[in-house]
């Protein structure tokens, strides 16, 4: 079942062709380079995931504005939770469905939505439409890191791996920042993240 998402056909996404051309010609090691705060994507471009040239779909996901909320000061090891936010653009011709989200920094990762102020795991498929995007933002859809062992401090970078239904993957590098926002209450008793 495909889930209805708030997606946006942003001006950025509309520029997919120009970006795809860049992606094919430049090494995709963008993690440490966040000029203008706009891009933290580190797309997998080697190994079993294949380079963008071999499998253009892998370079079709572009992540912009990737960041994570710092964990609370009183976080207990193994119980930390926090949100990750980004704009994920699909610059390809095929819709992509997120099949798995993992992170070395979290024991468990879920894709969440916020409905009536309550956040909950998204039940259906999360699809990033071809030529469109998926906005992950405080108060809306987001990636939820759970069972975090080590505190995520402002200025840290946390890595999140996305897998897609076509077998491709992408790694996001999120800069950790403090924010007073992103306080959605959690449906099963956790009070915040």
């Amino acid at each position: 079942m495909s889930h209805a998402f708030r997606t946006q056909r942003s001006r950025r996404a509309a520029l997919a062709p120009a970006l795809a051309a860049l992606a094919l010609t430049l090494p995709l090691t963008l993690a440490a380079c966040s000029a203008a705060g706009e891009t933290n994507l580190s797309a997998e471009s080697n190994g079993s995931t294949g380079s963008s040239a071999e499998s253009p779909a892998h370079a079709q996901i572009h992540a912009l504005d990737v960041w994570a909320k710092a964990t609370a000061d009183d976080m207990k090891p193994g119980e930390g939770m926090t949100g990750v936010f980004a704009l994920l653009e699909n610059h390809g011709d095929e819709d992509l469905t997120i099949s798995a989200v993992t992170s070395d920094s979290a024991g468990h990762v879920e894709l969440h939505e916020v409905v009536d102020g309550q956040m909950r795991e998204i039940a259906g498929d999360v699809v990033i439409p071809a030529g469109g995007s998926l906005l992950l933002e405080p108060g809306g859809n987001h990636i939820m890191l759970m069972a975090i062992q080590e505190p995520l401090l402002p200025g840290d970078e946390v890595s999140i791996d996305l897998s897609f239904s076509d077998g491709s993957t992408a790694t996001l590098s999120a800069l950790v920042k403090d924010t007073a926002g992103a306080n959605e209450s959690y449906h099963d008793g956790h009070d915040s993240h």
Binding site: P17, S34, E38, F85, L153
Partner: protein, 435 residues
Amino acid sequence: MTATDEHRAASPQGVSRRAFLTGGAVGAGLGALVGGAVGGAGGYALAGRTSEHLPFDPETVTSLGETGELPGFGGESLPCHGRYQAGIVSVPAAHTRYISYRLRDATDRAALIRLFRIITGDIEALTAGTAPLADPEKELAARPARLTITVGVGETLVDRVAPAERPEWLAPLPGFSLDQLGGGFDGGDLLFVVQADDPLPISHAARMLHRDIDRFAEVIWTQQGFRQSRGAEEPGVTMRNLMGQVDGTVNPNPGDEDFAALMWIDRESGPSWLVDGSAFVLRRIRMELDTWDRVDRPGREVTIGRTLSDGAPLTNPGGGEHAEVDFDARGASGLPVISSAAHIRRAHSTDPSERIVRRTSNYDDGNEVGLLFGCYQRDPLTQFVPIQQRLDDADLLNEWVTHTGSAVFAMLPGFQPGEMLGTALFGEDSDEPLS
């Protein structure tokens, strides 16, 4: 026609704007292009009327924000990358806010690296006209109006990172007899100089920076200064202070042969982490306008040594602001035309290395007015201090001005796309992502 070409044809502006965004992120050519635009560009106006016919701010680029291309100077952006930090020799902005922070006790070297990683991204985004990560008021970023954010570090910060590398001058200045410090405008561990031609982006930038570093440091003071609004005067006109004087006539200019030797620290004159940085002194100078009101125009002109009408030296009142001062000239009575204690005589040094690059603004908080006297140099102990010592010893102006705040900061070297501001201070490992 390829899809790319097709798109370009359909939306040429969009492509170029997106390309700028991508360029910084990709780190290659386009980013370098942005970086290359900063530095020696023209339009510097501190030195006075010599550049008044230059177009205003030829070095600006268009804000990358959604509304960056709309009419008005709000859409002008000053690139933050370059050999030197932006906001030091750019055309002085209409508004300047100085924000001084004290580091929290727990902010050690590792935390400082994280802090600088965050503020580097904030500065890149804000000055380009885009919202930093986690900015809840993204729309306020789009019209930067030549926003610059220049960062300086104080004594304590350097001592927590590289105490052996702290220059002797990075400490409170020697005391001067007339100083009345201690009023809450002294010192600090980390300084942001936030400048723009519009106060709104300054307020937004300051708020964003504050959110992001609150866990690391606390504000100990802010000071807000202003010059005349952009467009009120021809570019390049020397500003007037709130005593009515033309203020800033004699000032080294980036075009001068010896400018770099006065201004920018090199390997011989400072530690390696400060090469292409500069030493900044900020003095809060209160004006005693109630007593100044009792002084009539002749007395005011003698106090300074210049005319009030256009700042010409009293030895050549028709010669205009930039006429050479004849310190030896004597009047009919045999007394010097420029009084022995006139401000310009006391400030003047015959040693050409004993000069500073002034960058000042006025302040008026409703109860008190004065001057935020900022100056750059290689070494305050050999440049600002001897000048101020002479003024402290004898200056007619002292009757009506009081130094009530004092701070010294090391303004960091500039940074390039993909590089963290302050990398040279923190060393080789600071640019690596933390695991």
